[in-house]
Amino acid sequence: MQATATRQPDAPIVAARALTKRFGDYCAVDGIDFSIEPGKCFGFLGPNGAGKTTTLRMTMGLTPVSDGELTVFGLPVQQHAAAIRGRTGIVPQADNLDPDFTVEENLAVYASFFGLSGADIDTRIDRLLDFVSLGERRKAKPDALSGGMQRRLTIARALINEPELVVLDEPTTGLDPQARHVIWGRLTELKSHGKTLLLTTHYMEEAERLCDELVIMDHGRILAQGSPLELIARHVETDVIEMRGQGDAMQALATGSGCRLEQMGNSLYCYTHNPAPLIEQLKDRHELRFVHRPTGLEDVFLRLTGRELRD
């Protein structure tokens, strides 16, 4: 079909240039550029209000673009939103399962919105319920499911049209650690099946585990872009020593160490490429507690977006 013919095999799945979204005077997305390669997991990492969800909604044609260019599968989103959504699976931030339908009815009715029905779809539903380990609960109503199960059902629902691209808005927010690990496992499996994943998150661990490439967003702009390891190498030192204890003593010790310092709450973070001397000194100072670890995405994130509280 025309929709598939327009894209070269390795052309980007999503491409945005100077993409902008304004609500009145407020600029939610401020001229961002990004492109998502097929088969990759691409993440938008940012604090609340950074413009992540707005970007996703524009990508799916659910909110009009104010300015710039945006194509998905090589198609301009504005004119081809329905065709694009037909080839995409969307997992929204809050579950919006149909409370009146059972687990399997939720999938069957959702399939009907794509014009899909029949024996093929029944077997696809069985397969998807197995994939998200809900085969036993197929006759249950969503209200009877745990938060993790509802999320898995929402993911299964997003796969009902065998999408090439799966878009997930904060897929594990509000879930307990076990449930998050199950979701991460399923998403990794999807990637191994060649699906392109696009997700937003504010969990560093999630971004670090899942994303091949990510952008850090704040105030509608992209602050940095790259693989998790590239971002860490580019923006922060290799090591961090986190100290807790009496403020003045900590400060005095750290200032002499030559590390880059960041205060957060009653912890002091000392960033350095050479942690050995400071650790040596800290060994004799029993009144100060410290943790030494390699730097991670969280350090990049905090360095770029600042440490003030967001709501």
């Binding site: 609500f23 799916m60 044609g61 659910l62 909110t63 009009p64 504005q78 939103a81 329905a82 065709a83 959504r85 037909g86 969307i90 929204p92 809050a94 919006n96 399962l97 149909d98 409370p99 009146d100 339908f101 009815e105 009715v109 959702y110 009907s112 919105f113 794509f114 014009g115 997003a158 049209n161």
Partner: protein, 259 residues
């Protein structure tokens, strides 16, 4: 999709309609009870009770007069309730439309599908009353079956304004205004309980622009055999209300959801 382009009506709207009828089927018993229970109460209570004192009205037994009017007013209230409380539930707290919009369907399909569904529920209530009225012996022959498509049209004509209210509402409380200021006055004034020509002159002119007046003319003509002098005018008024309210509802719901 720009907010102001003309809405399209596509077969995809039927997917939304189908979703609703599948939910309705699960609640069949209470739904049927509502459909039959209310008109039976009205017809028995008012038709026999009040009819005992009234005798004939406009050349027919009061029960026949009332039954043929209630078919229209019940289509109005059914479509209005569905288009407000149920549509609002799906639009806001339940986020059903958000889920539907993640598929190839768009807002126009949702609005058209919901209006068809509201009209379908109006049709169910109309059929129920027609059945009760038939049992009570106040239905005039087979031509009264024509009232079924008419009731569907009446449903469409009230579904649109109800959906406009849903798109403007911040909460369920808002709908009280519409019921008190629009639905109830029509129920009382548009000829359901007495002929409109007994109203003061000023009001007689005013009720001619209200859709329920035209709906009642049609249902009374078809069900009770009253003389129908201007059927095309009545149909045209209902169609214009349905079409214009669909266009406005589609634009307002887009504004609410496509932000």
């Amino acid at each position: 999709m720009a907010t102001l382009t003309l809405p399209r009506i596509r077969p995809a709207a039927l997917y939304v309609w189908r979703r609703n009828i599948l939910v309705w089927r699960k609640l069949l018993v209470p739904a049927m009870l509502m459909n039959f229970g209310e008109p039976v109460l009205y017809l028995l209570g008012m038709g026999y009770g009040l009819g005992h004192f009234v005798g004939d009205m406009a050349g027919m037994p009061y029960l026949a007069f009332l039954a043929s009017g209630i078919i229209a007013s019940s289509a109005m209230t059914t479509a209005s309730f569905e288009g407000m409380y149920s549509v609002f539930t799906r639009m806001v707290p339940q986020k059903t439309y958000e889920a539907i919009l993640a598929t190839p369907l768009d807002v126009d399909d949702i609005v058209a599908g919901e209006m068809l569904w509201c009209a379908t529920k109006a049709l169910f209530s109309g059929v129920a009353i027609l059945a009760v009225a038939t049992v009570l012996g106040v239905v005039q022959g087979w031509q009264s079956l024509w009232v079924i498509p008419v009731v569907f049209l009446v449903g469409l004509c009230f579904a649109g304004p109800a959906m406009i209210m849903s798109s403007l509402a911040a909460s369920y409380d808002f709908f009280s205004y519409y019921f008190v200021l629009v639905v109830t006055p029509m129920f009382i004034l548009c000829g359901v309980f007495y002929p409109v020509d007994t109203l003061p002159d000023v009001l007689q002119g005013a009720v001619q622009v209200l859709p329920l007046t035209h709906a009642v003319h049609l249902t009374r003509g078809l069900v009770a055999g009253a003389e129908l002098t201007q059927p095309l005018l009545h149909l045209a008024v209902l169609m214009i209300y349905a079409l214009v309210s669909y266009l406005i509802a589609a634009i307002l719901v887009r504004r609410k959801l496509m932000i």
